[in-house]
């Protein structure tokens, strides 16, 4: 069963549906129509750009080019993480978060693409790019939650951290409870999603695969795999991001550099 190809005209018709939210926003004078227009234009242009790019990427299908593209995706996610967090865009955070996310993504990709799926071509674009995109999007969200929680909790409970240090703890031992809290907070959204998936929500990956002709069971198998990848990828990247950042944001006397905070 092949997917029905959409013409540009058909896609354009799809935009008509926006008249409904636009009318509701207007009626309630929310002032959101301008924002909706900008968001819609951005979404369309960004996706069209990615569409054209992916066409080329799939055509060349070279592991090096694919890795370079993954790196670009990680760089964008890295800056977005800092932007959405309440921390300043300092190299002391940007670089460690980049390395942590990149390392996390590569490890997860290698495991699922090469060990589980066993791709015939190394890092094949058709698999590597969408899976990276899905894992990365979730890593971004978890990194924002985890990193924010870790450093703000440490800032707000400075006495607890200092008490442990004053009692002979190493820096890692004194930071342990803060790590615990950050990991719990960042794991919660994915754990909640895993608990309700299929019952409440039908994820985009299943929808996309079924639409493009895959059998529902194959789509489900991929979805189970992607949930495992997302969960382990997010936890790994949060863990590595905090570990790596901790090497750059503390002074020699174990005190946190408060210039990382926005406020």
């Amino acid at each position: 069963m092949d997917i029905i190809q959409l013409s540009w005209f058909q896609l354009a018709i799809g935009f008509i549906i926006l008249l409904i939210p636009a009318a509701i926003f207007r009626w309630y004078k929310t002032g959101l129509n301008r924002q909706m227009m900008i968001a819609t234009i951005r979404m369309t242009l960004q996706l069209l750009f990615v569409g054209y790019y992916l066409e080329y990427l799939f055509e060349y299908d070279n592991a090096w080019i694919n890795t370079a593209w993954i790196m670009i995706m990680v760089i964008v996610a890295d800056f977005a993480t800092i932007d959405r967090s309440d921390l300043k865009a300092k190299w002391a955070l940007i670089l460690p978060i980049f390395f942590a996310t990149f390392l996390g993504i590569i490890l997860i990709n290698l495991f699922f693409l090469e060990v589980v799926i066993q791709l015939p071509t190394f890092l094949e674009a058709q698999y590597a790019i969408p899976i990276t995109g899905m894992v990365l999007g979730n890593c971004l969200r978890s990194n924002v939650i985890g990193i924010n929680d870790f450093y703000y909790n440490l800032k707000n409970n400075k006495e607890r951290y200092q008490f442990y240090l004053a009692s002979g703890a190493t820096r890692a031992e004194a930071l342990y409870p803060f790590f615990q809290s950050a990991l719990k907070k960042s794991a919660n959204p994915t754990l909640a999603a895993m608990a309700t998936i299929g019952l409440v929500s039908l994820p985009g990956m299943i929808t996309g695969q079924i639409l493009s002709g895959a059998s529902p069971m194959t789509a489900i198998q991929y979805q189970i795999m992607i949930m495992l990848a997302i969960f382990s990828g997010t936890i790994l990247s949060v863990f590595l991001a905090i570990k790596f950042c901790n090497r750059t944001v503390f002074f020699e006397n174990d005190m946190l550099d408060h210039s990382i905070f926005k406020d």
């Binding site: 006495e159 200092q162 008490f163 004053a166 002979g168 703890a169 190493t170 020699e252 006397n253 174990d254």
Partner: protein, 209 residues
Amino acid sequence: MIITGKNIHFSYPREPIFSGFDFSLKEGEKVVVKGESGSGKSTLFELILGFQIPDKGEVLYKNEPLKSTTLHNFRTQSAWLPQDLNFGDGTVQEVVQYPFRFKHSGNSMPKMEQIEQLFSDLGLTPETLQKTFSDLSTGQRQRVGLALCILLKKPVMLLDEPTSALDRASKEKAIKHLFSDSQRTILSTSHDPFWIDRCDRVIDLDNQI
């Protein structure tokens, strides 16, 4: 001298605290620091523990300057009671036992009976151990913090208002526990005459030159 501060200069942005301050503590001395609010009592503790670095001058422990390399070693010999403590959402028992799990600290885990006896001496019931730390009142938190410092049995203690949350009977028992080791050096802040009277000496920060 066990702890010495030489020519300490320290200021927060637009707030000078110390300019050329000297102090020294003999081993076993029980000293109380007095001074107006903002005179630098808590800052002095933070300078000794290396949480703040002097702009000029140095702090020495057993004649060795406290630097990043020697700081951890000093901290294995110290205990600190700040005024405001929040150990989070764990039970009081978990909170009390946690510092005894630090591998290179030399802290040895106290027995449960020992913890319960000390709690009772400080006016805390044994049931407090099962409560969530963040549910305790400020006074109870302060007493748990003090109990923890006593259990750590360190040769150097820096205590911020150690008796402020205690009644008379508990104060006597706390002092008995803290002062039992004649080799222990205690630097404290206090407004409590009961505590001040039992210390050997007062350092007055308002009259520092």
